[in-house]
């Protein structure tokens, strides 16, 4: 974890010895013990989900957007030729990727309200806890979105559902990977004046293998031929763990020092 400590000032800063010279005054309060990571994650995720429950940005704006995309696909690919049913897995994940962008933008935007970053920085919240908590909340929101999107596609595209186990096994790591990569890049672009326009260019190329692997796994699942799917599932887990680990290691270096 030495690299992690090096990259994450939040955790590494905790052992800092006072400089020589001017002595601490007024009996400085002892540094509060850091929260365990899981507590930080739970606090942040619960906070984000509560904000979502109040503001309904995902359910009221992002989900309808994803549904519009699903309808637009039908306009683009003639619904009478069976193309839609065949392309459904790929279209599903394209819609999820596109919906993931505003979801992540919103999630990070909440922390960019005036003064919030300053006040958070003065608490003992570790940036990696903040990162994982926000990823978890986005995963929950995207999962809820998928729970509506999937049935909608079954109905609109005349898809025959099946292979639920493979769908879930691929869907979970794919969603984690999209949320983690999106949150990390939104953090990288945070504080710049162009975060919202820059984010798609940053996130979509990085998550393109996720789209690819999730689509293939779902095609295999719907074709009732899950043999190949497990390789894709493994690849999705590699991607999810990679982006999560990168975010946990780097979010400290990324998040603070914003303007």
């Amino acid at each position: 974890m030495s690299a992690g400590a090096a990259l994450s000032p939040g955790r590494s800063g905790r052992g800092g010895a006072p400089a020589a010279g001017a002595a601490p005054a007024a009996a400085p309060a002892d540094r509060p013990a850091p929260l365990p990571l899981w507590r930080e994650v739970a606090l942040v995720a619960a906070k984000d989900l509560r904000i979502e429950r109040r503001s309904r940005v995902t359910t009221g704006q992002v989900l309808p957007f994803a549904l519009v995309v699903v309808v637009l696909f039908a306009f683009a690919l003639d619904p009478d030729r069976g193309l839609l049913a065949r392309a459904a897995p790929g279209l599903f994940w394209v819609a999820v990727l596109l919906a993931g962008l505003p979801a992540v933008n919103r999630s990070v935007g909440v922390e960019l309200a005036p003064g919030v970053r300053d006040q958070l920085a003065l608490t003992r919240l570790d940036p990696s806890g903040l990162f994982v908590g926000k990823v978890l909340a986005v995963v929950v929101e995207l999962a809820a979105l998928q729970a509506v999107l999937g049935p909608a596609m079954v109905v609109l595209y005349d898809v025959r559902p099946g292979g639920a186990a493979v769908l879930a096994a691929a869907g979970v790591p794919a969603t984690v990977a999209v949320a983690a990569a999106g949150t990390l890049y939104a953090g990288l672009a945070a504080g710049t004046r162009v975060r919202e326009t820059l984010l798609p260019l940053l996130v979509l190329p990085v998550t393109s293998p996720v789209l690819l692997a999730a689509t293939r796994a779902w095609e295999d699942a719907l074709a009732r031929a899950p043999g190949d799917a497990w390789g894709w599932v493994a690849m999705l887990w590699v991607a999810a763990v990679t982006y999560l680990a990168a975010g946990m290691l780097a979010f400290g270096a990324v998040w603070e020092d914003g303007t």
């Binding site: 690299a3 820059l198 293998p209 293939r216 990168a246 780097a250």
Partner: protein, 261 residues
Amino acid sequence: MTATTGTGRLFSVRVEAALGAAAAAAFGALAVLGLAVAPPDAVQGDAQRIMYLHVPTAWVAYLAFGVTALASGLYLWPRTRAVAWDRLAGASAEIGVLCTGLTLALGSLWGRPIWGVWWAWDARLITTAVLFFLYLGYLALRRVLGPTEAGARRAAVAALVAFVDVPIVHFSVEWWRTLHQRATVFTPDLSPSIEGVMALTLWVGVLAFTLGYLALVALRYRIAGLEAARDAAALERAIAARVAAAAAAGGTVEPAGVPAP
């Protein structure tokens, strides 16, 4: 590479000049060899000559992104943190994106007469295209972050994430194309049995582009140093202006030191 100082050059003036001259000479040799000396390919005809550019640009693209990743890692590592690594990472990525774009364009020009299409969904092509966009995003991010310490740190993180993503892209695309569509458009390997003059030409191409890469990176690095010097000078002027304005505003000029007893 003595990339530890805050300003200045990547190489000495003499090495820089020698690099430029050597690159120019190598490109000249490549032009003669590739256009006149090397025979047209038995199967592909003159179109094959594009390979003398296409293969070297692809090589330099990967080299450049590797250097960007390495420099970014060295920047993030506290013991080796130096602004020079950030500049090197940025300079190298710019040349890398340029060469990736060239690789795609040249490949397309070659594919049209040989495959009959401008573009094929070949694993290598897709990976290269994704790479192009990955690092285009990195450059866009660098541009908005600016040359501050925090900006350099974020840029380094972005470069490493992009680099870590490359194998994921590569393997998923590779696996996808081999699983679902066994090479139908083409089978010829890019370097089946190149020999003699053709092999020599290809190697001269690699040499020329590598030297060109080094010369351009050194140049871009030096420009970044000059930009930083310009910004530093502007900052000095801004500080002096503020100090002067404060003095003009009146008030006793004394440091706000320890309070009077």
